[in-house]
Structures are given as structure tokens and as C-alpha cells.
């Protein structure tokens, strides 16, 4: 798939691209530059205001980079669409911050809908793996066996049930009347599954080495908990806003 892209953009044959030490060195350099850029994005996220243009640019770039990474992962995983949407919350996080720090009112509604779609996509995509539509990841089974002390069939059954709940959340967060409980579940489950990476894989006897790998893996999954939390907050805000507006209208009449 990449052969024509490499030839057209870099003017290199695939053999050269795949075997050249110079190409590999440049790819390593590029990934480090991107890493540094993402660190800048993280800083931008912490200090962004509507008037700090450089932070806005970084957040947009960060969103684009995350989308490209998600596509690359999807491509690597045999173009399984679920792999892309599994990262819906992660990709949406910087964009959500941009929307959230523009102004109140109209942006809040757009923000809530955007995040609702992102959360729904993320949970539905995870559900596809959990129920076995896509091959169930072995490490998920291992984590469940480790943390819940289940045997393999029990862990597979547990994940299947979790996958069903993922679909219920994906639907529930969109349907009026069920958004709040769905978002609440998503917050809790997102937090648990992010923490599971640490709890199941970081060991006291190899704490330094295992935490170096698994702490970032946990941080990457925090949007799966935090974005539903934002949705909850926005639902609560819109209720209070609507309620206040209704009271004002009532008083005026």
C-alpha cells in the first residue's frame, strides 16, 4: 500500500525504503521530532487561552498527528476500522480543548455533540474486539485473568459481557434519557481499563522497567475516562442553563 506513496513522495523504490540505514535513521529522527512536538502540544494544552495563538496551532497540529497515528495503527492492524475509532477519544481530546476554550454557548453544544460521537465511537470500537468480532487481544484476556483471578474461559466471557456494555454505552450516550447513566458508566469503565494497564503489568520486582512502558500506555487511555466526564459536565451545564433560561422566561411572562 505504501509503495507508490514512497515512490511518489520520496522518489525511492520500496526495496531501498525498507532496507536503507539512512532511511531508518531519518525515520527515527522524524519520530523524535514528532514526539517533541507532542510534548509541546501537552504544554500548549495546559496554558492555552483563546488569544495564545501558538497554543491553538499546536493543538490543531496535535489533533492531526494523532489522527495520522491512528490511521497508521489501523493500517498496521490490517485496516480494521475499529482500530481507528478505538482512538476516537484520544484524537478528539485536543480538538475538544480547542472548542472548550473558544467561548461559551454555541461552542458548548457543538463540543458536547462532538465528544458524544467520539465516546460512542471509542466504546463501540472496543466492543468489536471484546465480543470477538475482531480477534480478541490476548493481552486483554491476560489482564482480566491477572486482576480478577479468572480462568481463561471466564475472562473471555467477562470481556464478552463488557463488550455488550460497550455497545449499550455507545448507543446510550446518544439517546436522550440515557445519556447520563451511559456517560457515568463510560467514566468509570474508562478509568478502570486505563488503570488496568498499570495494575496488571507493573511489577514491584521490575518496577522501573515495567512502569517506563506502562505509565504512558495508561496516560494514552485516560481520554476514554476524561472525555465522558466532560460530556457529563456539559450535560449538567446544559440542564442548569436550560433550567435558568426557563425560569427567566417564566419570570418575564
Amino acid at each position: 500500500m505504501m509503495e507508490s506513496f514512497v515512490r511518489n513522495i520520496f522518489g525511492l523504490g520500496w526495496d531501498t525504503w525498507a532496507t536503507s540505514p539512512a532511511v531508518e535513521a531519518n525515520l527515527i529522527l522524524a519520530s523524535r521530532v514528532i514526539g517533541a512536538g507532542l510534548v509541546l502540544c501537552a504544554i500548549a494544552a495546559l496554558v492555552t487561552t483563546p488569544r495564545r495563538t501558538w497554543t491553538r496551532v499546536m493543538l490543531w497540529l496535535g489533533t492531526a498527528v494523532l489522527a495520522v497515528v491512528a490511521f497508521a495503527i489501523c493500517r498496521d492492524k490490517m485496516l480494521r476500522v475499529g482500530e481507528f475509532f478505538e482512538l476516537g477519544c484520544a484524537i478528539s481530546a485536543p480538538l475538544a480543548l480547542l472548542l472548550a476554550t473558544r467561548s461559551v454557548g454555541g461552542s458548548a453544544r457543538l463540543l458536547r455533540w462532538w465528544l458524544t460521537v467520539a465516546v460512542a465511537a471509542t466504546f463501540a470500537a472496543h466492543g468489536l474486539y471484546a465480543i470477538g468480532f475482531y480477534p480478541l487481544p490476548g493481552e486483554w484476556v491476560t489482564m482480566v485473568m491477572t486482576l480478577l483471578r479468572l480462568d481463561e474461559p471466564g475472562a473471555v466471557t467477562f470481556l464478552f459481557a463488557a463488550g455488550i456494555f460497550d455497545f449499550l454505552v455507545a448507543a446510550g450516550i446518544i439517546i436522550p434519557g440515557s445519556r447520563v447513566p451511559a456517560a457515568l458508566y463510560a467514566v468509570v469503565w474508562g478509568a478502570l481499563t486505563a488503570a488496568a494497564r498499570l495494575l496488571a503489568n507493573v511489577t514491584p520486582e521490575n518496577f522501573r522497567e515495567t512502569s517506563i512502558y506502562w505509565i504512558p500506555e495508561t496516560l494514552v487511555r485516560l481520554p476514554n475516562c476524561l472525555l465522558p466526564l466532560v460530556v457529563l459536565g456539559l450535560l449538567a451545564y446544559s440542564k442548569r442553563y436550560v433550567s435558568s433560561a426557563t425560569q427567566r422566561n417564566f419570570c418575564q411572562t
Binding site: 526495496d15 480477534p135 487481544p137 496488571a200
Partner: protein
């Protein structure tokens, strides 16, 4: 002699020419190379010293039969004393795969075979069964042939020159597990065949770019979860093919523990699996995190 009498011998001859031609073609047909079978591969699902799985793509034709024996009769299929029909036929990746499971073979012996179907007869190929006792042997181990076809083809050519007893393949045969890629992979795999027609069994493991079902369909692997073991040379060597894409605990670990316990006589135990316990990439931290993905470290190190 009348004019009619003068032409009669010619008429008779002309009448018999088509029959003669038909007989000639009938005689020639068994030696036709236009068999509808290709993408040959060998594998093991039982004792390598007495069995062999012959697999191929059935690309048309019907009623394939493997004709085989210990004497080389070339493509003269009728001379081979033994036959086997496919024990399993499956459709996968846009191909029809047939697998004939040969059994009752003699250890450390050359077997010659052809596959004949309604379209014709394949080229003559041959293989060697594994020895039943300890003996010097050669095998080739590799994998990850997925994203650069030229080195893959070169590696396959090396197999044909090195003439090992078998090839261990550690997973990631193709990149996207697509029909086209598998077709290309099998095309390239034919390059492992030596110039004298010798073929080499592939002992397959699963990688992260593969799935269980595809590998069972491509290589007739005896385990649907793609973990299994084979003895080579009796108790000389035991090969373990492990699956790092499913949980390394659970049933796989139980099986491995039990198998190691009941096969203590094996002098050499060799495990093949896709994800290394320690990353080969020097930029990644050397961490035992891979024990959550790789085989149970404590089980392997017993």
C-alpha cells in the same frame, strides 16, 4: 482396379488417423504439466518421521489424488504404489486449499510424489521425512516476510540451496492478510523448492499480522489456537510452536506446562513464537513487560 478400389486404402487410412491421434493424445495426456494444482506446501501435524501433509491450491480441475512412493517415477503417476486423497479441503483467501495427510511413512526416507487431477499431473516433487532417532540435521528459522518481497524471495531461494530438513516460520507471513498477499506469498514459497524438486515442510507459528483461522487454512496446523509441539529425531528434539497473540496464561500455559512435564526426555527443546521476551529494538527499554505477551517466562525457563 477400379477408381473406387484405388482410393479405398487411402480412405481407410484417413479414417484411422483421428483414432490414432486420439490414442496418441491419450497416451501423452498423463504426462501433461497442465495440472490445476499449484502453490504447493508441506507441513507436519503429527510425527514428522512417519507423516507429511501435502498441501496445494486446487485452481480448477477435480478429484485430485497424491501419488507417492519411495522410488522416483517422475510424472508417471500410475507407477507410484501409494495414493492419498485430500483429507481436508477448505476455501480461504480466495483459494481452494487441499491437504493430503500422508501417514505410515518410513523415517528418514525420501518420498517422491505428484498430484494428479482431472486436468493433468503436477510436476514431480519430493520430500524427506524426519529421522526417528538422533541425527545431525539442519533447519532454517525465520519469519516476518510481510513487507518486502525481494528479500523474501531471496530467503526462499536460500532455503532451496541450504536444503534443510524443515523451515521454522515465526509468523507475519503477509502484511494485511489479504487474498492477494497470500497468493503472492505462496508464489514466492515455490522458490524454496530445490532444482531437483525437493520441498521442505514449513513449521508455522502465528504473528500479529496473522490470525488463527487463516494459518489453519493455509498450513493445516493441528491446533486451532496455533500452539502445538513436534518431536524431531525421536527424543532428540522437541519443537514448541507458541502463540503470543492469545493469552499466554490459561489453556496455552496449562498445555505447555503439561507437555514439558511429560516430555522430559527431549534433549533439545526449542520454542518458536512471534513476540520476543526482550525487544530486539535497542531503543525500547529492556523490560519483562513482554512476559505479559510472550510465553510464560517461568514455564519456558524450566
Amino acid at each position: 482396379m477400379t477408381e473406387q478400389n484405388q482410393t479405398e486404402p487411402m480412405t481407410i487410412m484417413l479414417k484411422h488417423i483421428p483414432v490414432a491421434l486420439a490414442a496418441l493424445f491419450a497416451f501423452a495426456a498423463p504426462h501433461s504439466a497442465n495440472a490445476a494444482t499449484d502453490y504447493f506446501r508441506l507441513s507436519w501435524r503429527a510425527d514428522p518421521s512417519t507423516t507429511m501433509v501435502v498441501g496445494w491450491r486446487q485452481n480448477g480441475g477435480s478429484s485430485p489424488v497424491v501419488h507417492y512412493g519411495t522410488t522416483d517415477y517422475g510424472t508417471n503417476y500410475g507407477s507410484y504404489p501409494l495414493t492419498a486423497t485430500p483429507a481436508r479441503i477448505t476455501s480461504a483467501k480466495g483459494m481452494t486449499h487441499s491437504f493430503a495427510r500422508l501417514a505410515g511413512l518410513a523415517p528418514d526416507k525420501a518420498y517422491y510424489f505428484v498430484v494428479r487431477d482431472s486436468s493433468g499431473t503436477s510436476a514431480r516433487m519430493w520430500f524427506r521425512t524426519a529421522p526417528a532417532t538422533a541425527k545431525d540435521l539442519t533447519f532454517v528459522a525465520g519469519g516476518d516476510s510481510r513487507n518486502n518481497r525481494t528479500p523474501r524471495q531471496r530467503a526462499n531461494l536460500m532455503v532451496s540451496k541450504l536444503r534443510p530438513l524443515f523451515v521454522l516460520f515465526g509468523g507475519d507471513y503477509t502484511d494485511g492478510n489479504s487474498n492477494t498477499e497470500w497468493s503472492e506469498w505462496f508464489t514466492d514459497w515455490q522458490q524454496t523448492k530445490s532444482s531437483d524438486g525437493r520441498m521442505y515442510p514449513i513449521v508455522a507459528a502465528r504473528g500479529n499480522h496473522d490470525d488463527n483461522t487463516s494459518l489453519v487454512d493455509m498450513f493445516d496446523i493441528p491446533s486451532s489456537n496455533i500452539y502445538y509441539a513436534l518431536n524431531i529425531g525421536g527424543s532428540f528434539m522437541r519443537l514448541y510452536m507458541l502463540n503470543t497473540e492469545i493469552t499466554v496464561g490459561g489453556t496455552q500455559d496449562s498445555w505447555l506446562t503439561g507437555d514439558l512435564t511429560s516430555n522430559t526426555s527431549a534433549k533439545w527443546k526449542i520454542a518458536q513464537y512471534h513476540r520476543p521476551m526482550f525487544p530486539m529494538n535497542p531503543r525500547r527499554p529492556r523490560t519483562l513487560r513482554n512476559t505479559t505477551r510472550g510465553p510464560s517466562h517461568s514455564t519456558i525457563m524450566r
